[in-house]
Amino acid sequence: MATEYKLRMGDGKRLFMTKEQIVADLKEGMADAADLGDIPDLSEDEIDKLVEIITMPSRMVGVEQGMEVPVTHDIGTIRIDGDQGNSGVGIPASRLVGAMMHERAFGADTMELGHIDYSYKPAKPVIAQEMQTMEVCQQNMIVPLLYGAMPNMGLYYTPDGPFENPGDLMKAFKIDEARESMEHSAKHLTRDIVWIMQRMMASGSDGVNFDTIGAAGDGDMYASLHAIESLRKQFPDIYIEAGMAGELLLGMHGELEYDGTVLAGLWPHQQAALVAKAGANVFGPVVNTNTSKSSAWNLGRAVTFIKQAVKDSTIPCHVNMGMGVGGIPMLETPTVDAVSRASKAMVEIAGVDGI
């Protein structure tokens, strides 16, 4: 009987596969990425290396010594004091304590301050609190500390915001009106992000993390790129990380452009150039995990996409590797074996500049 190795499904469940099955799944996932993104396959050596990583007997694996990369930490201290909805562990602690725990206890290479709602728009009414917390954290901390939140353009649509919901308009075949609503929302989103970051920079922030750009489609990306451009002009030395929401930039509007490129339908390697052009320092590409496929399929696919993004990017790429992305299972408590294998594969095969 052929030796079986322990793997995971995309939802985290234990799975046993033979080496032949692993190779087949890896190649199938790789082929899916290559087909969708119109990008090259991995080489045979890279596939062999992936198989080696996946079949290592130890529970946890690590990158070869000397290949370590910075691990940036998004969602801020919400993981410490947050609730289940934010994957938080509910330890009552101030945000300063949470940030310092990451720096001094966990060994994080950078850290982020964010508020519990974690979208830009709701930070406006509590901006003085955010500024005060940033100042206190900066006085005490050494690692780069960014302010982070989600652009989340959906908050500008009814019933949460002033502009008619494009989803409702679209379903009523009011396509032009839906597009106008997105354009108005994008302008307001850009303005809010810039306004918030002007104040956070005045409070000593090292910079900004855009978390989950494009969650509301191409309008969300359009607004974020314009905010990045504006912030770069106002603050030449600001650290800007632009992290994506998904692998494919959804075309909710379909005709929005940045620098002559239509935003809708862009894959990670195509997003990289625009993010750099706008003025970001670090790009956070995303590949979604399919919960109905094995970790071999997901990792083959994710590494293929990210390798090309790293190659095409002119700025450092910190691949997004949270719950349900980057080959990590969609599970509240992603298993250490799956996380460390995905992490190692992204560094050693995709060649990421950070995580």
Partner: protein, 214 residues
């Protein structure tokens, strides 16, 4: 022109998302004596399937999907006089779709509604943060064949299970299929709570709805 070539032309016209092209192709197919049901099924509907595939691949976008759906509606309307009464406007099934209470995520659910609608289902999108009883009431009101339950947070997934329990309590479960979706939902979760299916994305939602309802 062979029938196969005509079906291809109808399908291509739908993919072009242009109403004029669709109407012209439908006229031509009708003139060639192709039965209306075949024009719709093998030409227009096949084109809409292709539109769905192109949307998932990032080659067509949501406005295009709606334009194609609008063009298909116009094409079907043109054929109505040649068909038995109500046959042309008959929907594939009735689906109530919404995001469960406590969860304000709207966009993914709206895309699913749009794709189901454009595939030929009658969709009642009841919004986001929807009180659970509203799903039951809407299913009753519309005599729906399926209810779609979206949840984007681990904390709101439970709402999907609760709606299924409410359907059972009110003796409605056997008459309505349940589809679940949203980032933290999985096949295993769908099986655990007794849903009929789980969809990974919008085009899979269409495929699974067709499997269950047609």
């Amino acid at each position: 022109m062979s029938n196969e070539e005509m079906f291809k032309q109808l399908s291509d016209a739908i993919v072009s998302c242009k109403k004029d092209a669709v109407l012209a192709a439908v006229e031509k197919a009708r003139d060639e004596g192709i039965p209306p049901a075949e024009i719709i099924e093998k030409g227009l509907a096949a084109g809409m399937n292709e539109v769905g595939v192109l949307f998932e691949r990032g080659k067509l976008f949501l406005p295009h999907v709606m334009m194609a759906a609008g063009a298909m509606e116009a094409g079907v309307a043109l054929l109505e006089e040649d068909m038995p009464k109500d046959a042309a406007s008959k929907k594939l099934g009735i689906i109530v779709n919404g995001t469960v209470e406590g969860d304000v995520h709207d966009i993914g659910k709206s895309i699913v509604s749009t794709m189901l609608q454009s595939a030929g289902f009658e969709v009642h999108d009841i919004g986001r943060d929807v009180p659970l009883q509203d799903f039951i009431d809407k299913v009753k009101e519309t005599n729906a064949d399926m209810v779609g339950l979206s949840a984007l947070m681990t904390t709101t997934l439970q709402g999907q299970k609760d709606v299924i329990e409410m359907l059972k309590e009110q003796g409605m479960r056997d008459g309505v299929k349940v589809m679940v979706g949203g980032a933290p939902a999985t096949e295993a979760w769908a099986n655990k709570i007794g849903a009929d299916c789980y969809a990974e994305n919008a085009s899979e939602a269409v495929t699974k709805a067709k499997e269950l309802l047609l």
